[in-house]
């Protein structure tokens, strides 16, 4: 029985994660509008389904039934390739993120299976590599639309993303120094246990500045507020996705939400101890993981509707002149302290 | 299992394609792209030999080759931009004023 169960379990895990990501982006659409509503002292979507719970279904149906437009001068292949690139890189990035401990599924399997789509021994770098490929979706969307607003939005968005990749990578490097491994699963497992029996050994407490830098860089990477100048409605008529409609358009915000989920998941793995929590047995670690990722997503949405947007030059200045030097100093300080305490 | 010669032949083919691109194309950007193809072919040779000999030096050299390729692409593209501003053309035949 065993040789047949294992591939089925792996296939089921992949299927569940894939669909969960798609459903998560739909839930996030609703969550964003509801939370935004409550923060603005109103109810948000209320009519479709009980308390507006079925609103995402209405949104998706509306988008699917719209007309598929393509501007006359738009490049035929690149116009369709751009949203495909965005969504594919969004999914692939989540494939290397582990979300649970090794489990035998309560005795169903003989050998434990690792909860995660794939466990690569350079997992941290793979996430970074795939997110840096996400730039292409946006820049091609801007270019292929053959429209000034799209082009400027695309160029600005991609310039912003590649600028904040530096701070992102250096704060990752500091965590790798502490963990001693490039594999995300090993980074999580090195955060087990507690200090003084109460404080969990998360890297959040060892690297507070690195954590803040990582979160800011992550928000900028996903083009979310307050760094969403390139796609802000008030500024550039929706920027790089101005000329997109219907399904091609729907893929862009979906890719953005999945990127949000991936960034939150990676932040949870790197700084919040992943699925470890003092007192929770490892088989139920994935519930802890989901809870932590949800906290991050709530903070994302909260940030969007609380702080005003950065202007583009303020955004670039902040990324290059303040965030990147801060992350380099963080890395040097971490390296010095690791050397001192290990010698 | 893949014999080493397969990797070397693949690398030689890629290098030949890159060299053909440098010689045959009349667009400065495509010429730079062909140079990148050649550098990648060389990287593949290094890594293949490194794996064959069980030595890590093959991968270390590719690390440096990639860095040098990045620096060269940056400077090459800056030159292309400067040239384009001068002559409004990306054809290398437009820059022959120093020929006898």
């Amino acid at each position: 029985m065993e040789p047949y169960i294992r591939p089925v379990v792996i296939g089921a895990m992949i299927f569940i994660v894939f669909n969960l990501l798609i459903v998560a982006s739909a839930i996030l659409v609703l969550a964003e509008r509801k939370i935004m509503g409550f923060m603005q002292q109103r109810y948000g979507p209320y009519l479709v389904g009980p308390h507006g719970m079925l609103q995402p279904i209405a949104d998706i149906l509306k988008l699917v039934f719209k007309e598929e437009l393509r501007p006359k001068g738009a490049d035929k292949w690149l116009f369709t390739l751009a949203p495909v690139l965005s969504i594919v890189t969004a999914f692939v990035a989540f494939a290397t993120v582990p979300f649970g401990a090794e489990t035998t599924l309560f005795g169903l399997l003989d050998e434990p299976i690792k909860l995660g789509i794939s466990d690569v021994n350079v997992g941290v770098l793979v996430v970074f590599a795939v997110t840096s490929m996400g730039v292409y979706g946006i820049v091609l969307a801007g270019w292929a639309s053959n429209s000034k607003y799209s082009l400027f939005g695309g160029l600005r968005a991609s310039a912003q993303m590649i600028s904040y990749e530096l701070a992102y990578a250096t704060s990752l490097a500091a965590v790798i120094l502490l963990a001693g491994s490039l594999s995300l699963r090993e980074v999580v497992d090195s955060q087990q246990g507690t200090w003084f029996g109460a404080l969990p050994q998360w890297y959040l407490f060892l690297q507070p500045i690195g954590f803040i830098i990582y979160v800011i860089a992550g928000v900028a990477e996903t083009n979310r507020a307050p760094f969403d100048f390139p796609e802000a409605e008030q500024e550039l008529v929706a920027g790089y996705n101005t000329e997109y409609s219907s399904v091609r358009f729907a893929l862009f915000p979906q890719a953005e939400y999945i990127n949000m989920v991936t960034m939150s998941a990676v932040a949870t793995d790197l700084y919040l101890g992943g699925w470890h929590f003092p007192g929770v047995p490892p088989e139920y670690g994935w519930i802890v993981f989901l809870a932590k990722v949800s906290v991050f997503l709530f903070v994302y949405i909260w940030m969007r509707w609380t702080v005003p947007r950065y202007r583009y030059d303020q955004l670039m200045k902040f990324g290059w002149k303040y965030l990147f030097p801060a992350s380099v100093l963080n890395l040097i300080a971490t390296a010095a302290l690791v050397l001192y305490f290990n010698a | 299992m893949i014999p080493l010669s397969h990797y070397l032949i693949l690398s030689a083919t890629l290098f030949a394609i890159g060299a053909a691109g440098v010689f045959l194309r009349k667009n400065l950007i495509t010429i730079l792209l062909s140079v990148e193809i050649m550098l990648n072919a060389v990287n593949l040779t290094f890594v293949a030999f490194g794996r064959y000999a069980g030595d890590l030096d093959g991968q270390i050299i590719t690390f440096f080759v990639m860095t040098v390729a990045a620096a060269e692409a940056a400077v090459g593209l800056a030159l292309v931009i400067a040239l384009f501003r001068h002559r409004e053309s990306l054809n290398p035949d437009a820059f022959t004023s120093l020929k006898w």
Partner: protein, 177 residues
């Protein structure tokens, strides 16, 4: 068996994409095809038990250098080469090149291939003589770079600094005083 299939798949993709790169009229398509070629090469590096090089290839080449190329192509609005001009002035149509150049190139590839396959020891599988774990350790690679190859590392960092300053200076718009 799956390794052989993967190798041929990635090899075909790399060669096909590279051949198309030099045959495209539109430079934007050339850049995107080269990114596909780099992805295929990255897969080949993984087959060669070099995960760090594979990921570095994506991060550096496909994720940074190609973005730079893309930006320059968009900035210069590099035009598609004109179709009629392309057919008329293409170097492969010149009689000398068409007859002798292709012959020489084909001869070169045949000679290289037969020479490489004649060396008997190169016909052994790539992974036969060494253990995979000695070559795919990132920690060992880092240790080697910072101890044995320190000079090359420092020289490369100076090179990058010079390239960065040079690129900014070269591409700066000249002010007419």
């Amino acid at each position: 068996m799956p390794e052989t299939v993967t190798f041929y798949l990635f090899a075909a993709l790399a060669v096909g994409a590279s051949a198309l790169v030099i045959a495209q009229r539109n430079p934007m398509y050339s850049v995107l095809l080269l990114i596909a070629s780099f992805g295929a090469l990255s897969g080949l590096y993984i087959l060669l038990d070099a995960p760090f090089v594979a990921v570095a290839q994506i991060i550096i080449y496909a994720g940074a250098i190609m973005v730079l190329f893309l930006f320059v192509v968009m900035l210069l609005n590099a035009p598609k080469e004109d179709a009629a001009e392309w057919d008329r002035a293409h170097p492969l149509r010149a009689p000398g090149v068409a007859r002798w150049g292709t012959l020489l190139a084909g001869l070169l590839i045949v000679q290289l291939t037969s020479a490489l396959m004649a060396v008997n020891e190169y016909n052994t599988p790539v992974g036969a003589q060494s253990d995979a774990t000695t070559v795919n350790s990132v920690a060992d690679m880092g240790r080697a770079i910072f101890t044995r190859h320190t000079f090359a590392f420092e020289a490369t960092s100076i090179l990058i600094l010079v390239a960065m300053v040079g690129a900014v200076v070269l591409a700066r718009r000249e002010d007419n005083q």
